[in-house]
Symmetry: C2
Subunit: 201 residues, 2 copies
DNA sequence: TAGTTTTATGGAACGCGTATCAATTAATCA
DNA sequence: TGATTAATTGATACGCGTTCCATAAAACTA
């Protein structure tokens, strides 16, 4: 921890400031021009730095795209919350939330790709530091809904995560394998929820 | 149906022959060098034509990648069948198959990306003619397993497709959101199957 | 055979993500 | 001030998917 000569490393706040700046420009690009507009070259031009500089602050495009997760997940969460209005019965609430969840992704396939298909599959051993706080927060909502089904049960997390992953799968399949005659989203999510409400044998 | 002047369209068999040739070279590239080796430039070099020529025969890379689906799905199916040996009880069989299914994708994330993440999400209005025969065949196996749980029930397709989509979601989440503390694959698939075996309320 | 019409091809180009590397700028210490 | 060290930059390069366009090739009609 001794001071050395020469230019000191980046200031902590400067780092955050730069990351925030990049995040804002990336967000603006994504919202205004869509997924494909968020390129390293265009983004660096918007930020006002060289494309190479971005690689000094982020380990790659994937890490930058993750900055956009929070926005999308917030919007999705709000959409789900909206669907819960005037619903009181726990099962009905979960069902409505699930439908809204899957529906959101199907209505916004670009957002789905952003969150769930941006990672470099196959190179996952490399990308080490991923913030999952956003994801965790968005899934909390479902944990509450599941808990309210039967507050006495202790396996809330397993059932929640299973149904969330299941819903994501339903969205993925409906979006990408669009020529296979999938049942309606409503039917499939209903089936997933049947597993949640069932009593363990 | 009158004959017109000028060079006639490609011969039907020639078309199939060329597609087969491309398919074989793509397969060899994928098996030998991996996903990233299957590029339009390398593939065209292997085939012996210009990169542009490929676009005269396929509408894009996605359509070429789909030629590889059958191989992967066959291997996956075989792996699942393997897991069924010496399993007789219907629920146990379904559970074993589900575990093998998800496990296969997690063990081969490149294959997962190939089949489930190759489509151009967002441009799905364009890519019209996708062969889903491969997929359909691979899912048939699960339809049988689900039917055997309770041959009297008529909602086999809904329950099968829901659990298949759910398993794909489990695989997707485990692969791409690898820093979120998902429950074990075994627990999540078990949860999905609970919905299959449950009796409708 | 000459001309016409349609298909098939390949070269060039665009923008992309990413890596390398030398040169420059900035901030600190001696 | 000068030396030292880190951050930033620009140029260059590779391979990628894809599109455009001019040209070659093939099969017909006259």
């Amino acid at each position: 921890m001794t001071k050395t000569a020469g230019r000191p490393p980046r200031n902590e706040t400067d780092i955050l400031e730069f990351r925030k700046k990049v995040s804002q420009h990336a967000m603006a690009l994504y919202r205004d021009k869509g997924f494909e507009a968020v390129s390293m070259r265009r983004l660096s031009k918007a930020v006002g730095c060289a494309p190479t500089t971005l690689y000094a602050h982020f380990q790659g495009k994937t890490e930058i795209l993750m900055l956009l997760w929070a926005d999308v997940l917030d919007e999705m969460t709000q959409h789900v919350q909206e669907s819960l209005k005037r619903k009181t019965e726990p099962t009905e609430r979960l069902k409505a939330a699930a439908l809204a969840f899957v529906g959101y992704w199907i209505d916004h396939p670009d957002h789905f790709r952003l969150v769930f298909m941006s990672n470099d599959v196959g190179r996952s051993d490399v990308d080490s530091f991923i913030e999952t706080g956003d994801v965790q927060g968005s899934f909390q909502m479902f944990a509450d809904l599941v808990r309210n089904l039967n507050p006495k049960r202790s396996d809330v997390k397993v059932r929640t995560d299973a149904v969330v992953a299941g819903m994501i799968g339903v969205a993925l399949c409906s979006i990408t394998i669009c020529n296979y005659p999938w049942p309606t989203v409503s039917k499939m999510t209903g089936q997933l929820i049947a597993g949640i409400t069932a009593t363990p044998q």
